[in-house]
């Protein structure tokens, strides 16, 4: 037995050729044109296109790494864009002559992409202008509608490597941009009012203008302040009112409810003081609070641009599919698919609806739906459920059910999807606040009645009452949780883990059970470890294996091709290529008969030492068995360490996989014992498993998954974490999105969430000290409203400073290495 190491392979092909366009190493036969080398036809075509439009300046931009166009592109892919109903929904604006679209281009990644996408008019004069928004990865293209069709435009930018991502959600016409601007208006107006009210309040701060002759001025200033505070209360703070009202209607209190209460009571008090000419009111505090809260939320939301937590199946499905009518292929929107339609699905395309296979056979990759890693074979007449991907030659299918009624979409009808997870009654801040507000109200009214009735001093009584309320305003307490959570969220974001909101972080801190999905979560799909067992393969033999395997779309063949990336594939034509599903492939290499496949296929009667943990592909040339390639699925780096770390901190860990049991020995080592491993779990079984843990064992469950098959479980769990290698890409509905590489940091993230809860408690304590200090003066009637108004921002600044510092220190300690 001999294992051929990768190093030897690399040494043999040490002279590196890098592709002039994409910068990747050329692995196959090199295309040399114009003194430059290209790795594939796709890259060369883009270069040719750029040269034809005098855009070779692209290659002189620093860090330019071109994109090789998608191999899945075919003529007519975008034809459906010209259908009137699709076109109408995609166009942002049109006046008959000019039209504008705003497309998501996920492949945009560097400054040269911006440059190229903004030169679109050079390729086609019908494009008037194109403007890139890099953070959103969008390009807004204005074009002459008569000169270029929408499909041609999409084809144009696909040809230079930037295929636009158009999903069903786009067709439902959601616009978030306007909302973003409204927030800026609100911040601007709140800031304006806050500043001017402060200026008009200056005389009050310094006890000026108390003489009788200034009385008119004081009244004017008071009414001006009132007028300035109205837009803040009615317009800028409207989001707080809306969200508090929505929560009240749903019979729970959210974090905005106490804010609204505080705002209304401060406003009412100030209004009374102005109208009765008894005081200046507290409009400065009111507008200041709104302004700072709006600014805080703005920055919090900014981190989350481009991340969507509530995607459902619609974002995964293609917008259009090829339907064959009378022998002609049409692109039709999937929503219009009717039972009985014949659809044509190409390699790597998603099957949008439950359908019956008409072609002789197909390889369906269900990893997205079921978590099964290996593609399954289907024969003519079998039903194929929506969500599967065809791997291999194009197939024809007859649609059984409409898209909205397929097996997959039924998962979304489960109760778990209609339930709100955010039980705001339980959040730390609201719990403390409830007691706190009652206590403050009691103290204030007791103080009031003592001054009023016992001491018969109504003036001091009113002043003591208002200062009590103001100095102990729950805002300080609210801010401590808002700012801590905000800072914790941005620290999570810096480590490329994105919780949906502060509430998700709080729930994360209560987790005691962690459930992992297997495919795509703890394993990296597409990547595998391949070991060569048997005789030493010569380089020529490796070339033969790669060339033959690259003809096949079987997942094992694809893995072999990926592993042999450093071996050149030959372009020579194979004679008598034949693939027998479930067995293997056969071809003639010159005069040699080559077979790749199962043991029986190459002629081994009984397979020795059949291992469960790996798949083997045997190779024979001219009936002589050379050996086999043993393929192991690769696990994410450092993950076993992270899991054992979780177990040490007394978390329960489970594995919940839709796949068949493989690698049980290795996995049970990682997960403690075999009873924590569950295989062959269907999507709804996963959901019920989580539910069971929660109700029967009273566990707070964290579910980590990636595919649609986990969507139900993610939704049911206390915290659902979706793993995604590209956060701008697709992930099921969840509470937290985490980048695949960061998954090993999971224990750290939980620790940080817990530290955050401690910091909130500590900052509550600090603001409590301020409050008690202020209250003792306030009860005595010695605190002037001005001092109370100054004490508030001072305590606010201390709290903000403390939470920021403490959470940053905690994060640095946790993510030190």
């Amino acid at each position: 037995m001999y294992t051929l190491h990768r190093e030897t392979l690399e040494r043999e092909t040490s002279t590196k050729h890098t592709c002039y366009h994409c910068g990747e190493e050329c692995k196959d036969e090199i295309i040399s044109k114009d003194d430059h080398e290209f790795c594939c036809d796709g890259c060369y075509n883009v270069y040719d296109l750029l040269k034809g439009s005098d855009l070779c300046g692209y290659y002189s931009i620093e860090q330019a790494g071109g994109i090789s166009p998608d191999k899945g592109y075919f003529n007519g892919k975008f034809d459906y864009l010209d259908l009137p109903e699709v076109r109408e929904k995609l166009l942002e604006f049109t006046d008959g002559q000019l039209a504008r679209v705003n497309w998501l281009v996920p492949k945009m990644h560097c400054s040269s992409c911006i440059w190229l996408l903004e030169q679109l008019y050079k390729f086609n004069p019908a494009v008037r202008s194109s403007v890139v928004n890099f953070p959103e990865k969008k390009v807004r293209i204005t074009f002459e509608a008569d000169e270029i069709k929408l499909s041609e435009l999409a084809a144009l930018i696909s040809r230079i490597g930037y295929e636009p991502y158009i999903s069903l959600n786009d067709l439902e016409g959601r616009q978030i941009n306007k909302w973003n601007r409204t927030r800026l208006y609100k911040i601007g107006i709140a800031g304006f009012c806050f500043g001017n009210i402060m200026m008009l309040s200056f005389p009050e701060y310094f006890h000026l203008g108390n003489s009788g002759s200034d009385q008119d001025l004081r009244v004017t200033f008071g009414f001006l302040n009132l007028a300035l505070s109205l837009p803040v209360l009615l317009y800028c703070a409207s989001d707080f009112f809306k969200s508090a009202w929505a929560a009240l209607k749903g019979r729970y209190l959210n974090i905005d409810a106490p804010i609204v209460l505080a705002l209304l009571s401060i406003f009412g008090l100030s209004l009374y003081q102005i109208l009765s000419e008894t005081g200046p009111g507290y409009f400065d505090s009111l507008t200041g609070a709104v302004f700072f809260m709006l600014v805080g939320r703005f920055f919090q939301d900014k981190t989350y641009d481009g991340i969507s937590f509530d995607r459902d199946y619609k974002s995964y499905f293609p917008v259009a599919v090829s339907v064959i009518k009378d022998g002609v292929e049409h692109r039709t929107p999937v929503t219009e698919l009717q039972p009985g339609d014949i659809i044509f699905v190409r390699n790597a395309e998603l099957i949008p609806a439950d359908a019956v296979l008409l072609s002789p056979d197909a390889w369906i990759d269900y990893s997205f739906v079921s978590g099964e890693a290996e593609a399954v074979a289907r024969k003519r007449g079998e039903t194929i459920y929506a969500g599967g991907k065809q791997t291999g030659p194009a197939i024809e299918l007859e649609v059984l059910r409409q898209v909205s009624q397929s097996y997959l979409t039924q998962l979304w009808n489960n109760d778990a999807f209609s339930k709100e997870k955010e039980d705001q009654k339980k959040t730390l801040a609201t719990r403390i606040n409830r007691y706190f507000s009652t206590i403050v109200l009691i103290i204030a009214s007791v103080t009031f009645s003592v001054w009023f009735f016992a001491k018969n001093d109504p003036q001091t009584a009113f002043r003591a009452f208002t200062t009590c309320l103001l100095v102990a305003c729950p805002c300080g307490l609210l801010f401590s949780s808002t700012f801590t959570n905000g800072n914790i969220l941005s620290l999570f974001g810096k480590n490329r883990c994105y919780p949906k909101n502060a509430d998700a972080v709080e729930r994360l801190s209560h987790i005691d059970t962690v459930v992992f999905d297997k495919t795509g979560t703890i394993t990296q799909s597409e990547e595998a470890d391949i070991e060569f067992i048997g005789e030493t393969f010569s380089e020529e033999e490796l070339v033969i294996i790669k060339t033959i395997a690259s003809q096949s779309s079987h997942p094992l063949s694809r893995m072999i091709v990926a592993e042999l990336a450093n071996v050149k594939a030959s372009k020579r034509i194979l004679v008598d290529y034949a693939e027998v599903s479930g067995a293997g492939i056969q071809a003639w290499w010159g005069s040699k008969e080559v077979r790749l496949g199962s043991a029986a296929w190459v002629g081994i009667s009984s397979e020795i030492q059949k291992e469960k943990s790996s798949s083997r592909v045997y190779v024979s040339i001219d009936q002589h068995i050379l050996g086999c390639l043993s393929i192991h699925i690769q696990y994410r780096e450092n993950l076993p360490k992270a899991i054992s770390e979780l177990q040490k901190s007394s978390f329960q860990t489970y594995l919940l996989s839709g796949d068949k049991p493989t690698d049980t020995e290795l996995l049970s080592n990682i997960f403690g014992n075999e009873t924590n491993l569950y295989f062959n779990q269907k999507p709804d079984e996963k959901l019920h498993f989580i539910e069971n843990l929660q109700t029967r064992l009273q566990r707070n469950v964290l579910m980590i998954g990636d595919g649609l098959n986990d969507a139900g479980a993610l939704r049911q769990s206390n915290v659902g974490v979706a793993v995604s290698d590209d956060t701008n890409n697709f992930s099921p509905s969840c509470d937290v999105i985490i980048e695949g590489k960061q998954l090993s940091q999971l224990p750290g993230f939980i620790k940080l969430a817990r530290a955050g809860q401690k910091i909130i408690k500590a900052s509550f304590a600090i603001s409590l000290i301020y409050n008690i200090l202020g209250l003792t003066f306030a009860i005595g009637g010695k605190l002037s409203p001005v001092l109370a108004a100054i004490l508030m921002p001072v305590s606010l600044i201390t709290i903000v400073g403390f939470t920021t510092l403490a959470s940053n220190l905690a994060a640095r300690r946790i993510f030190k290495n």
Binding site: D54, L55, G188, D214, T220
Partner: protein, 55 residues
């Protein structure tokens, strides 16, 4: 003291002017994207402008 009223009105008007300038710039989309323009300004126009082809 009546001068104060004039000054207050004047100062508020100036502040309103700045506010409307801000609103205008937001409406024009100046705040939609705070990253791309910083890159765009450093990218050269295609150098081969005079050699434009027959269009």
């Amino acid at each position: 003291m009546s001068a104060l009223y004039v000054m207050i009105i004047a100062s508020l008007l100036i502040a309103v002017a700045f506010l409307s300038a801000f609103v205008w710039s937001v409406r024009k989309g100046h705040y939609d994207d705070d990253y791309t323009p910083s890159v765009r300004i450093l990218l050269d126009e295609p150098a081969t402008k005079p050699a434009q082809k027959d269009q």
